[in-house]
């Protein structure tokens, strides 16, 4: 099901409201031309989680934070512009409900936001902090990598900042250019002590975010911003959590394993459909969900079964997280592989504005890679 143009218009309005560049008409042209680089595939929530309602991803994230604030009196939500509801509406209504002391704006300073969250967590609060775009997380890199990730280890477990969660919108949005499109997960995947999670839609986002908030390690939660409004499905209204460090086989198959995360999972699901239709190839699609620690077993079991694998991500190729997965697969599945491990990713360039359709690992680039891998 392709996102309707009406829906996409809404996405445009919402996103461009906060982009500091570009003229409206130009941006509109861009987005109309290539916004639907993917088709959203809905998730089915587990029955045991109870009643559901139709929810998009920003609402699901809002619901997770609302539940976290309800169930944990020490929890606070903060960041740039979160008080009025957030530039992507994720914290809408939370300040009215939970008070100005618990849902509040911070000064515009990412290193301060993360450090403040670490301090809250060290003192026993649950800190849910927001970095407005993942592209702007780098000023906080020192606090995340040198401080948050190492807090428990370096103190011999005397203190920790395990109740810290950092949320950040990430990845392509159609017209985000260099600084509203990045997928920085690989920078952080090289840092022991962190957990990194990327949901593929509303149902996963709510359960995984609640898990991150309650997890005893500092978590980075990257939210593919293009899904905030385009992704809509039935989501349990109650409190539920989904496991961290666990990959999902979102579609079973026998000829090739396709591995991705975030928006790219939907691209891969469509590729699987096209491959089936066009050259009768059965693809197994895996969403690895957690970048760190990642679920090596699920991926390697699948590759041992299919003998072929393609990994796809939006971030650049060189040292992208696909490299880690590929290296592990060749080590664990060497005797099972019938073709080289294939990677389809963004190019080793900054994320471009007008060339976005040619930059992203589109379904056509992925489809070509599947074809070449199967016919190797």
């Amino acid at each position: 099901m392709a996102a309707s143009s009406k829906l996409m218009h809404k996405v445009f309005q919402d996103a461009s409201q906060f982009l500091k560049v570009g003229c409206r008409l130009q941006a509109q042209n861009v987005i109309c031309r290539h916004a639907s680089h993917f088709t959203y595939f809905k998730d089915e929530p587990l029955k045991e989680f109870g009643d559901t309602s139709k929810t998009n991803m920003f609402q699901a994230i809002n619901s997770a934070m609302d539940i976290a604030l309800d169930t944990d009196s020490s929890a606070v939500v903060f960041g740039e512009d979160v008080a009025f509801g957030g530039v992507f509406r994720c914290s809408m209504g939370l300040q009215e409900k939970h008070g100005k002391d618990r849902v509040f704006n911070s000064p515009l300073c990412e290193q301060g936001i993360v450090a403040f969250g670490i301090g809250l967590s060290v003192a026993g609060s649950t800190a849910i902090s927001e970095i407005q775009f993942a592209d702007y997380i780098f000023p906080a890199f020192d606090q995340i990598v040198n401080e948050a990730a190492k807090f428990r280890y370096r103190s011999g477990n005397l203190s920790n900042c395990g109740s810290l969660t950092i949320r950040a919108p990430c990845s392509a949005v159609g017209h985000g250019g260099l600084y509203h499109s990045q997928s920085p997960e690989a920078y952080f995947a090289h840092t022991p002590g962190l957990k990194i999670v990327i949901p593929r839609g509303p149902y996963k986002a709510k359960g995984l975010l609640l898990s991150c908030i309650r997890d005893k390690d500092p978590c980075l939660f990257f939210e593919p911003k293009i899904l905030y409004r385009t992704a809509e499905e039935e989501v349990p209204v109650n409190d539920y959590t989904l496991p961290l460090g666990k990959a999902d086989i979102v579609k079973a198959g026998s000829d090739i394993t396709l591995v991705g995360w975030g928006t790219q999972v939907h691209v891969l699901l469509e590729v699987a459909k096209l491959a089936e239709e066009q050259f009768n190839v059965s693809c197994e699609v895996i969403d690895i969900v957690s970048i760190l620690p990642w679920d090596k077993n699920t991926v390697c079991e699948s590759v041992k079964k299919t003998g072929r694998v393609m990994i796809a991500h939006e971030a650049p190729l060189t040292n992208g997280f696909g490299a880690e997965i590929a290296a592990t697969i060749q080590e664990e599945c060497f005797l099972y592989l019938e073709s080289p491990v294939k990677r389809v990713t963004g190019f080793d360039t900054p994320f471009p504005l007008i060339f976005e359709p040619f930059y992203i690992p589109s379904k056509w680039r992925c489809l070509q890679a599947v074809k070449e891998t199967v016919h190797y």
């Binding site: 409201q17 618990r102 290193q111 403040f116 060290v122 800190a127 401080e147 280890y153 997890d215 620690p293």
Partner: protein
């Protein structure tokens, strides 16, 4: 009326600019804002100052410098004989003993590093009064974030000589499990957050902890120590601004000792040092003679009361001098004269100054001094001898505490190392580690 109109026009322009950037608001929205009758109903920015028709530039010279608060003169007598000191003989002697223990411990561990017995060390010479004086003014439940030259705070709170020495020797009794370089102390029991090397990272963290304590209404305060060099880091800016805007009861305590390694403070900043920055952030500030332990204590006590009752950060800047080298990896004679160091140590030493005061008060004499120094030296040497004999932690502790629970990949790597050591163990210093 005229300035009010300008204000309104400026606000309208400001709104228009923001709307242009976000391409969100229609022109009617601007009109609505413009016709709002009272700015107090709006969260739009207002200028809280008067306009002037005279073009004027404000320079550093137009703002008075913050004076240095003193209680004790360098002769060990009260500057102002009417001044009252809230410490009795017992507390004063306790403060003196803590400074002396720090000083003698520093002397011995510095030598231990020179002899290659420990890998690294940093002394607190000349700054013992800053740490002990401020620590004595805090409640024991107040949370401390330090930089690395505040071991006197732990000394005051009861960290034992063995606690210090075991950390420096990275043995199995190091509370930090031998993972960090020497002098990176921490104690959960004493509410002292484990130190880390990256400068100034602790300052905005302390602000976050203070916010948590404010919400928990637990009556606890937070103090963050940092040097004047660290104050140049972006994290210190973050801390000052967050402490003010989010109204956090935190003491931001700067040790201004004149040098950041080789960089003299005149190459570190040009304004009224660190305390002079506070008002720009809307924080309160005190500048104090860091070699005067009573002044440090009084200022910290006042700052604690002030920040707790007003829910606002307070900056304390203690002016002092780094008598020792920056660290054991530094020879400070490469960038400053021996005479300069000797002058400072002789004229402004915080230990000497307090000792003179105690002697004037008939609380101290040569005999007590000799006895104390001898006892501390013996205690330190005994603890060093014990620490040297102790094994290092188990090798498997390389892998624990990375996460709350050990993930599969770390279990695999731990098992791999254990297997490797079975096969190649003779090439590693296995005997030094606990089994």
């Amino acid at each position: 009326m005229h300035s009010k109109l300008i204000l309104r026009n400026l606000r309208a322009v400001g709104t228009a600019v923001r709307c242009f950037q976000s391409s969100c608001a229609s022109s009617s929205a601007q009109l609505n804002l413009e016709t709002q009758n009272d700015s107090r109903n709006s969260s739009a920015p207002v200028f809280p100052v008067d306009f002037t028709s005279k073009l004027q530039v404000t320079t550093e010279r137009d703002v008075p410098k913050i004076p240095i608060y003193q209680v004790l003169g360098s002769d060990g007598r009260l500057i102002d004989s009417d001044q009252r000191i809230d410490v009795d003989e017992e507390t004063t002697v306790k403060m003196y003993e803590a400074m002396m223990r720090q000083n003698i411990l520093d002397g011995i561990l510095y030598q231990a590093q020179r002899q290659g017995r420990i890998s690294f060390y940093m002394t607190s010479f000349g700054e013992e009064g800053v740490a002990v004086g401020s620590a004595s003014a805090l409640e024991s439940t107040d949370l401390v974030y330090g930089q690395y030259r505040e071991a006197g705070v732990l000394m005051w709170r009861g960290f034992t000589l063995s606690d210090f020495i075991n950390q420096c020797y990275s043995n199995d009794e190091d509370l930090g499990r031998g993972r960090q370089m020497p002098i990176h102390y921490g104690s959960r029991k004493l509410n002292f957050i484990t130190l880390s090397s990256p400068l100034a990272t602790q300052v905005p963290q302390a602000v976050g902890s203070a916010y948590a304590f404010k919400l928990a209404k637990n009556g606890r305060c937070v103090i963050a120590y940092f040097g004047e060099g660290a104050a140049s880091e972006g994290d210190t800016h973050a801390a000052f601004n967050f402490a003010a805007t989010l109204q956090c009861p935190v003491i931001l305590f700067c040790r201004n000792n004149g040098y950041a390694i080789s960089t003299p403070s005149r190459e570190q900043y040009r304004g009224d040092a660190i305390a002079g920055r506070a008002v720009g952030y809307g924080l309160a500030a005190v500048r104090v003679d860091g070699n005067d332990i009573f002044a440090v204590r009084n200022a910290t006590k006042y700052a604690r009361d002030y920040c707790m009752s007003n829910n606002i950060g307070v900056v304390i800047e203690a002016m002092t001098y780094r008598v020792g080298h920056h660290s054991t990896s530094d020879d400070s004679s490469a960038y400053r004269s021996k005479e300069e160091v000797e002058d400072w140590d002789k004229s402004y030493n915080p230990i000497t100054r307090l000792r003179l005061f105690m002697e004037h008060s008939n609380w101290w004499n040569e005999e007590k001094e000799k006895l104390l120094a001898k006892q501390i030296k013996a205690d330190v040497l005994k603890a060093v001898a014990e620490a040297e004999k102790k094994l290092k932690p188990e090798i498997s502790e390389l892998f624990t505490d990375v996460y709350y629970e050990m993930p599969d990949h770390l279990m695999e790597q731990s098992a791999y190392l254990a297997d490797h050591l079975k096969k190649y163990g003779e090439h590693y210093p296995l005997d030094n580690y606990k089994k």
